[in-house]
């Protein structure tokens, strides 16, 4: 008889999550109640996190190729959605999701810095266009 958890977003929308999916979150695991409010995370984002948890709870083997492809699609979102997802996943302490999201951000940064030719330090100037691209990431 598995419990059902209720996750509430900051804009008062509630998501019902099965135990297996909910326990992927360390925060929920260590919480005494089955009703958890996630501050500063809106429904749109919380919904996606719940979707990820559901997908990962039902699949037995996380190394499955299909799951990997699904994961890759999942993290291919807009930059600002990505950051919001990270904040939510970090609050809920879902380690694997945080890992996947941070790897994605790392890959995005790497891609933007591919154009530099030299390993240069503050003493020298990094190409203007690379600086601009990085600034767009919000540095």
């Amino acid at each position: 008889m598995s419990r059902v958890f209720k996750l509430k977003s900051s804009d008062n929308e509630t998501f019902e999550v099965e135990e297996a999916a909910a326990l992927l979150s360390e925060t929920i695991k260590s919480s005494s109640s089955t009703e958890i409010t996630v501050p500063n995370v809106k429904a749109e984002i919380l919904g996606k996190v719940v979707e990820w948890c559901n997908k990962h709870a039902e699949s037995e083997d996380t190394k499955d190729q299909l799951i990997k492809e699904w994961d890759a699609e999942f993290v291919s979102v807009d930059q600002h959605v990505l950051f919001k997802l990270i904040t939510a996943a970090d609050y809920l302490q879902i380690k694997e999701l945080v890992d996947q999201l941070t790897q994605r951000v790392g890959d995005m940064i790497k891609a933007k810095t591919l154009k530099t030719v030299e390993m240069t330090y503050p003493t020298f100037n990094v190409e203007r266009e690379v600086q601009e691209e990085l600034k767009s990431l919000g540095f």
């Binding site: 600002h80 950051f83 970090d90 941070t102 330090y121």
Partner: protein, 438 residues
Amino acid sequence: MVLANFLSNICSNLLWLLKACMFSIKRRDNENEGRSLTLTDLPEDVTIDILMRLPVKSLCCLECVSKTTLNIVGSPQFAALHTRRLFYSSSAVEVPQLMLLARYSNLQHCAINLQSLKYNGSSCSTKTNFADIVFMNDWYRYDVQFVFSNLFGISRRLSVNRELCYLVNPLRGEVLELPRSDVKAPNYNGYDPCIHDRYGMGFDHVSSTYKIVHISEYAYENSSDIAARVYAMGTRSWRPIQSVPLCHFSNKSVYAYGDRHWLVEGGKSHNNLIVSFDFRKDEFYWTHHPDLQASSSRNFWLDFHLLTLKGSLAIMDYCSYPEEYIKIWVLKNYDKKEWALDYIINMDTFVERPHGTLLKWGEWENGIFTIQSGVCYFVDLRHGSMKGVKLSPSIINYNLWGPEQYEQSIFSYTGSMVSLKNYGNLIEAARPGMWFLQ
């Protein structure tokens, strides 16, 4: 008519401006409403997690972009964390880069110039001039003892028992003088024995410290002796090491698996060629190597070389007479000490190749290289081919001498985030990129 259009244009512009102002005021009121999150909004440990996954090249770019990233990425804690990940994670091997070192000397001074070199498969070109270091009133002797990531260890012999060692970080433009490792020779009986010095650098991931080991060999009339000391960066002095294998250390050493490895001569038998130094325990040990299938007439000292290939330790046999081949054994499994003869390249067909001995080999992105008489020879290990590329003469940047003879050598280096300013007082540059050392 025109006036009306003009006015309406102004009005619509003003309206737009007003809307924009109101929008930004509104944004400031509702923090989480429409504003895009930026990387600096993320919790700090998440940001560090992201940064840790990046190669050095990307991190360098980030250092230049904002003060926040400069503070995180430029901190010594981050550098140590990142270095530890570089050497202890198989997914994070940096691509080796090339540094051209040109050495000038006249009877009064000598100097070294460091420039980055790029090889694109067909030609070589120099890119950035990183450093010019002039040793004033000293034409005598200095050696590049080691390259550890992007740090060059340069020793300078002042007199028989006195030596200085410098660390040069060309990428950040830093030169640091290490505390002197002066120690009287053991059994010193009043006359100076002949001394050989070797230095090697590494990283102790347990204590997160960079360390340098110094090996001194003493040759007396009828005997020889050896002593070693280790220095942890940021501390004041060298610490002696109790047990040092008595053999002759060559100047060929590489860093792999967290330890530094030297090619040595005079070990117990012909089969003991590699001595390694463990930076965590501060101990020497012998590294087993495979049977190198070479007759005893070969000169192990000159013909064999130590390399790293994509993070793995490798031994190379460069045979130019009577047969002509390159053989490379790679250490596949560090824990089980399993080697495999991965490359056998027949050099009969190569038109251009280096001859003789005294070659120093290093690793480039797709293989190994060496330099001889101004020509750089690149061996592409993917195809088993060799290409000789003539280097253009280094340009003399300063007018301390005329067109004297200079010598070029090439070193392999990889990026790292380390900054020497965290470990002592840097030697001030006379002008950016140029140092005069007395």
